[in-house]
């Protein structure tokens, strides 16, 4: 039996694995992808201080540290189920083998939310994350000229990455409004969410908008005055007043139909125009990929500030189930540095719960370090992420009190079970 199993070789999982192994535990990391690094692999952007964040290099550092500490990493191995038995042993099921452990960390990261647009099943339509991986990880151009549907932090960052790779981005625009696109199709809500992400990477857009946005009335004006042809961000037109209402093509993407929209996102008839493109990216934002925590039976809370449903957990990264931990984007959508800091904390908590003494202070410092990393993050996916973190902490405390009320014992090791 392995002391610790980590599912997910992203920044959270690799950091946790390295720390736990450095404390003397034997650790197995399982990931379904063919390379270690998770979503960190595709990241490439300039930090506010002018330095570059290169995901491939950062992933290699994390991987080397884990490997040196003796961590075993099993790639191309999807986990399709996890289960616990009464004696506190977790079984981890993959197609070929079943692994067992007493300490299981789920660090499966995030998934991309879909934005349905007519024609989106044509070849040449992909998620914006797929375009990022093709370009930055596999070094293959997704096409020569693309249109990105969905305006958010992630799509703005990836638009710039495409441009760096010499791929033309014809437009960054909204999806047409329907009952599934909702907020991502509302110019006012989109502008508002972009503007609150103060130190977000595409700062020219923020600077442009913030002049208009002193109060709510101005917010409306901000959208109304938004130039019909968009503002340019690194030469890419950002179009808050245009929406893609259809993707067209005979056998593959040939272009999109775009139309002007009102400040509420309603299409203005007669303004439709065709824009040629050979690929289209769908950018609906990210949500925590928590499916394994769900089959394990963790209680969940829907917290928009964290990007969706998150499993109940405490600051030490324990869930309510004995021996089950979570770290990284499964606990809420944030940048890679925060995910890594959470992983470090989880690794230390697992070491302590495995009987290694003298870690209390180190765990406290690790928790502090998550907060500091968050405060200094150069990329922020939700403006109210701190509020989201407070909500889940309150829910944890409520849960602990409820258990006390029933006479069950609650320890810092979350032995209460559930």
């Amino acid at each position: 039996m392995t002391d610790v199993i980590v599912i997910g070789a992203g920044p959270a999982g690799l950091s946790a694995a390295a720390v736990a192994a450095e404390k003397g535990l034997n650790v197995l990391v399982i990931d379904e992808y063919m390379k270690p690094g998770g979503r960190l692999l595709g990241q490439l952007y300039e930090e506010p201080d002018g330095s570059w964040w290169n995901g491939i290099e950062e992933s290699a550092k994390l991987f080397n540290r884990a490997a040196e500490a003796g961590v075993t990493i099993k790639l191309q191995t999807p986990v399709n189920n996890i289960e616990t038995t009464a004696d506190g042993i977790w079984s981890v099921y993959t197609e070929e083998e079943t692994f067992v452990t007493r300490h299981l960390l789920i660090a499966t990261g995030a998934a991309e939310a879909p934005v349905p647009v007519p024609g989106w099943t044509l070849p040449g339509v992909m998620s914006v994350g797929a375009a990022q991986v093709m370009t930055n990880v596999h070094r293959v151009k997704p096409g020569n000229r693309g249109v990105i549907i969905g305006i958010n932090v992630l799509s703005a960052a990836i638009a710039m990455e495409l441009k760096l790779a010499g791929v033309e981005v014809a437009s960054l625009s909204l999806p047409g409004k329907n009952s599934m696109t909702e907020e991502s199709a509302d110019p006012r809500k989109v502008l508002n969410s972009l503007l609150h992400v103060s130190h977000m990477a595409p700062s020219p857009l923020v600077r442009f908008g913030s002049r208009f946005l002193q109060n709510d009335i101005m917010k409306k004006l901000g959208v109304s005055f938004f130039p019909k042809n968009g503002v340019k961000m690194w030469d890419i037109p950002v179009q808050l007043r245009k929406a893609v209402i259809e993707i067209y093509g005979e056998n593959e993407v040939e272009g999109v139909v775009m139309a002007n929209v009102t400040s509420d996102g309603e299409v203005i008839k007669g303004t439709e125009e065709r824009i040629t493109a050979d690929f289209v990216c769908i950018a609906g934002g990210l949500y925590p990929l928590a499916e394994l925590a769900a089959v394990a039976g963790c209680p969940f809370y829907l917290i928009d500030e964290l990007g969706g449903y998150v499993p109940l957990h405490n600051e030490q990264m324990e869930t309510t189930l004995k021996g089950l931990y979570v770290a990284g984007n499964i606990t809420g959508i944030e940048g890679a540095k925060v995910a890594a800091a959470q992983g470090t904390t989880a690794g230390l908590t697992i070491a302590r719960n495995s009987g290694i003494h003298g870690l209390v202070k180190e765990i406290q410092l690790a928790i502090q370090s998550i907060k500091q990393t968050r405060d200094n993050a150069s990329i922020q996916f939700h403006p109210e992420v701190k509020k989201g973190r407070e909500i889940i902490q309150e829910k944890w405390e409520e849960h602990a009190r409820a258990l006390e009320g029933t006479g069950s014992e609650v320890t810092s090791e979350a032995e209460a079970g559930g």
Binding site: Y93, P116, T121
Partner: protein
Amino acid sequence: MTDFEMIICRCEEVTYGELIKTAEEFNCTARELKLRTRAGMGYCGGRTCRPMVDKAARGPEISKDTEITLKYQPPLRPISFGRLGGKEK
């Protein structure tokens, strides 16, 4: 192509129109919508359409904030029939 004809669940080929009409007609929850239309019940296990089926649903969910509306079921990834049956390749 209109919104109504666009495919939402690719595995089971369920359109936006079908989902919206079913949700309206039966005022149904995400789970009922899934069972009525088969959206999310195909090969991939709803990996793409799950959030959209959730959004199309109308009926009152049981404690929507604390419970995931559409249940996750193992296996979370496709497995070959041979493996499932326990038969050697």
